[in-house]
Structure formats: C-alpha cells, structure tokens
C-alpha cells in the first residue's frame, strides 16, 4: 500500500499528496526555512487553486471550528494566472517533488485558457481541475452535474498533453456518475472529496459567522462520508483515484487505499501538524509492513 508508484505516468516516491489549498509551500518556507525541503511532507505538491484573474478571496471571518473539523470560506485568493506563473511557479519548481497545479475557471473558456497556459509549463507535471464552482452561464455547479463536468473536461482535454486530474465535489447526489462522465471525457485521474457545504452562526449575534454566509466542512467529521464516496467512485471508474477527506493518520490513509484510492491527500490535518504528511507516510509504511494481506476493495 506504500512505496513508490506511478500515477498517470508520473513517478511518485509515495502515495501521500496534499489537498489543494491546505498547504502553501512558499509561505511554509518563509516560516520553516529550507528544513521544509529537506523533509518535504508530500510525495507530490498540489498548488492552491488558481484562476485566470487575480482574486482577493472572501471577506473575513473565513474560519469556524466545528466538531472534529472546521468550516472555511476562503474563496480562492490567488495572484491570477500571470502572477502565479511569474511569482509562484519559480519557487514551487524548487520543491523536491512533482508539481500539480490546480485551476478553476468561471466558464469553460476560462478553464481552457488556464489549462493551455499552465499545461505548457515544464515545471508542471499534472493539472487538477477544480470544478466545484458554479458555471456562470448555466448556473449549475459544474462538478455536481455529470453532463456539465463532461463538457468542461472535453473542452480542455485537447489543450494539454499533461495528465488531467478532475477534483469532484461531495455535494452531489451521485459522485460516481460525475466521475464516470469525467473519465469518459478524458480525465486521467479523479480526486475527491472537496469540502462539504456547511455553515455556522455567530453565537453573539445569531447571524452567519463566515463572511460569505456559508463555507466548506473538512476534517475528521467528513471522513466516513469521503470514504464512502471514494469507494463508490473508484468502483465505477478505471482511472486512478486520489482520496481525501479527514485523513489524519496512516490508518485513515490505509482505509482510503483499501476503499479504492491509488493515492491519498492530507488536508486539514496539516493545520494541526505542519509535518502531518510525513507522519501519515511513515505510519502507512508501518501498516503496510504488517498488513500485506489486505487487498483493496476495488481489486477484490
């Protein structure tokens, strides 16, 4: 269950990635220095989602602590494509692992432009499409609808030869159908889950706490839900699946691999322990030594 592997033709030293938007390698290097690179916690690094135009992100407050988890309303702050390529990409290129860049477009055109530009950069090994945003034309949340997702992937597929990961939202009636549509349209891998829609009220005022009213729930609270979705999706598709949602230990990671994931990602747990990715890797290696007999449900 552990050890080096290929994912979409990219060689990884292990199966532990970060969830997009839950680790900023550049800020972490400012904080921890080059020690970060020496013991880099992930086997591939996924950037925070970027958009075509720069975004300030959502008005604060952006965070709420929930039972066994949290709600965030960050709103994809980023420097935009140009700023990312100029300022962030050189720094991310110094990381000792392959780089995946997460992109989101508010229309299929925007997405296509992002995929083409980012895909053309040699620093970039993989692209991840964050399709959890509402389509500005149809009003549908792209990633919740199989047909919308299929159309989006089809549209960008020809724009790059790099592997495309499609990140699924858990706020869908049938994530497996969305995954299957993405596969049919040419996705090379799927990642799931993104955050679940949630909200909280300010106990002092009775009004929504988060600046935008609602946000996304992550952490251990969503683990069982994520595990089931990973099982359903990976049973339906034959492309690799990157599983995430509340993973905080090697045992959790093993569960996702057993449920059908090929790689896993650590998200919120990195906030509690910046080196959580490394710990999860180590624990996973220990477990896989002891659990040689376990076979993934998907294979079985």
């Amino acid at each position: 269950m552990s050890g080096p592997l290929d994912i979409c033709g990219i060689r990884l030293r292990g199966p532990v990635l970060n969830g997009s938007g839950t680790f900023d390698a550049i800020a972490a290097r400012r904080t921890f220095g080059d020690a970060l690179l020496e013991d880099f916690p992930f086997d591939a690094f996924v950037s925070k989602t970027i958009t075509l135009a720069p975004r300030e992100g959502n008005p604060p407050p952006r965070l709420w602590e929930a039972p066994a988890g949290m709600i965030n309303s960050i709103g994809l702050p980023n420097k935009g494509l140009e700023g990312f390529v100029r300022h962030d990409l050189p720094e991310l290129h110094e990381l000792p692992v392959p780089l995946a860049v997460s992109v989101m477009g508010f229309s299929r055109d925007e997405l296509a432009a992002l995929v083409e530009e980012v895909g053309a950069r040699e620093e970039v090994s993989l692209l991840e499409l964050n399709v959890s945003c509402p389509n500005v034309e149809t009003g549908l949340v792209m990633g919740a609808d199989p047909a919308e997702t299929g159309r989006a992937v089809e549209r960008v597929r020809a724009r790059t030869e790099k592997p495309l990961i499609v990140k699924l939202t858990p706020n869908a009636t049938d994530p497996a159908s969305v995954g299957a549509a993405a596969e049919a349209a040419g996705a090379d891998a799927l990642s799931l889950v993104n955050t679940l829609k949630g909200m909280a009220l300010d106990p002092a005022t009775g009004r929504p706490w988060l600046g935008t009213g609602a946000g996304g729930v992550s952490g251990p609270a969503v683990r069982a839900i994520a595990l089931e979705q990973v099982r359903e999706v990976s049973a339906r598709v034959s492309i690799p699946v990157i599983g995430m949602g509340g993973i905080g230990s090697g045992r959790d990671a093993a569960d996702f691999l057993l449920a059908g994931a090929d790689c896993i990602a650590v998200g919120t747990e990195s906030f509690r322990d910046p080196a959580a990715g490394r710990r999860v890797s180590r624990e996973l290696t220990m477990l896989s030594r002891n659990e040689r007999d376990f076979s993934p449900l998907r294979a079985g």
């Binding site: 904080t31 921890f32 960050i74």
Partner: protein
C-alpha cells in the same frame, strides 16, 4: 513576501514538537504557563507566536472542541543553563482551547509549532510600549529586549487583571477601567499624554481591537510610526489556510505570515471583521 520592510523572523523547526510544561501559575485571572522547548530556537523575536495544543485531552469536555491548535504570543523566553529555552505564555481563558491550556499541569506535554510570524522591528526613535489586557504578553518580551528605560503604558479591565503588571520590571504606568489600580482611564489616554505631535518615538502596541484602533488613530494624527500586534482567528499559523486575513491598505494580509505585527500605516482600521468578539 509582501511586507515592504523586512521584519524580524526567527525560523521555526519544521513540524510540531512536544514541549514539557514546567509551571502553571495564576496571575489575577490570567495563567502564566511555562514550557521547556528543548528542540526550539532560543531567540524567538518579540511579537512572534506559537501554535499550542495539549498532547492529551485536546478535544475538550464535550469531545467537540478544541480541534485546531491555538495561537499565543510568547511573553518571555528564558535561557538559563538547564531551562533553555523556556517559553512563557500568558493566557486568558475565553473558550474551550484556552480553558484546556489553562488547566495544564507541570510535567504534562504540549504540542507546539513556532516561532511563527514576524515580530516587532527595532525602534527609530524612543520606544513607547502600550499593552491592554492579555495583549501585554508580547509587550513584556519586547520590554525585556529593549531594556527597562522605555515607557510602558498598561491598561486593564480591573485591579485583578492588573496583577499581571507586576511581571514588568521597573514601574510601568497602569490604568484600569474601574480605577481600582492606577487611574480610572483607558490606556490610550496615557498614550495621548505621553505622545507629542511629531514626537521622535516608535509606538508598539498589543491589546483589544478598540484599543489598537485608538492607538492607530492617535499615532496617525501625530504622525508617529506605530507597530500593532493584531489578532485574528487562525487555523494553521504558517500561511497554509488563508483563513487569518485582515484587511489592510495593501489588501488582505495573512496575519500569521505577514503579521501578527503590522505597521499602523498599513491599516485603515485596527478593528477587523470578527475581531474582538
């Protein structure tokens, strides 16, 4: 890196580490907690902070919260031979995280990440230190560094809270909201008295949002540079989550990597959304 002038930052060892609690004493309604940070740097910069969580029983009475670690300025670092470095934290219990941390026992272990963020920049003119309530924490270590000749102005809700002023060497000026210790006044009144227009001073302040906003306005009016240590809700403390942003004239800044110390000149107001609840 978005700060226009580099601020003092001591790098943190990568990852979280265990530190042993060596003391937990009451100071009025506050707790003064000491932890032996064997594997940490001995030179965190005043204004920098640490993310803390207890190793056991983080999860609280109800099993629900706290889940994330909590941010605390160190208020002293001590490097005696067998205690190096010992970090002191001053805590005010306001919720499940500070309640649990306030109940740590000597010998118990805490998870600790840090030092994080950027600290105060050395003064250009004479330093004036202003602390309000629990906000005196980073003012104390800054005072340790700058020496005892600087002006220290402290404000507290009550005489009980003012007990913590005894941690300061020398004779800090103390006022309270109820007049039970020192004058009945806001600490901003002391600053207004202390500070002439165009004074060759640098003001350093930490405290509740309304106080910081008062300090900001006074300094702006008199054209005196001020460095304010702000607070905001944090999940990670190292720039990973983008949750801790505060609005500034330079856009949203992540307080955990670009702060917590900010130039007052960068702020429209020191009262951010969700602050001071």
């Amino acid at each position: 890196m978005s700060a226009s002038e580099p601020r003092p930052r001591t790098l943190a060892p990568f990852g979280r580490r265990l530190a042993e609690v060596t003391a937990n004493e009451g100071r009025g309604p506050y707790r003064l907690i000491s932890a032996l940070d064997r594997n940490g740097p001995d030179d965190p910069r005043p204004g920098q902070f640490y993310m803390l969580a207890t190793a056991a029983g983080w999860g609280g009475v109800s099993g629900e919260r706290p889940y994330l670690p909590r941010a605390f300025s160190f208020c002293r670092v001590r490097n005696g031979s067998d205690v190096r470095p010992t970090l002191d934290f001053l805590l005010e219990a306001i919720g499940p995280g500070t309640a649990r941390l306030g109940a740590v026992e000597p010998g118990e272990e805490m998870w600790l990440t840090g030092p994080l963020g950027v600290g105060f920049t050395p003064p250009n003119g004479r330093p004036i230190l202003v602390g309000g309530g629990i906000g005196v924490a980073p003012i104390l270590c800054l005072h340790d560094e700058l020496g005892t000749s600087v002006s220290v102005l402290l404000g507290f809700r009550s005489g009980a809270h003012a007990a913590v002023a005894a941690l300061f060497p020398g004779e800090p000026a103390v006022v309270t909201d109820d007049g039970s210790v020192g004058r009945r006044a806001l600490v901003t009144e002391l600053l207004r008295e202390e500070l002439g227009a165009g004074d060759d001073a640098t003001v350093y302040a930490c405290g509740p949002p309304a106080m910081l906003e008062g300090v900001r306005a006074i300094c702006a009016e008199r054209e005196v540079p001020a460095q304010l240590a702000l607070e905001s809700g944090m999940a990670c403390g190292f720039g990973a989550c983008y949750g801790c942003v505060v609005p500034t004239r330079r856009g949203f800044l992540r307080l955990c990597v670009d702060g917590p110390v900010l130039d007052a000149a960068d702020l429209e107001s020191a009262i951010g959304p969700g602050a001071g609840h």
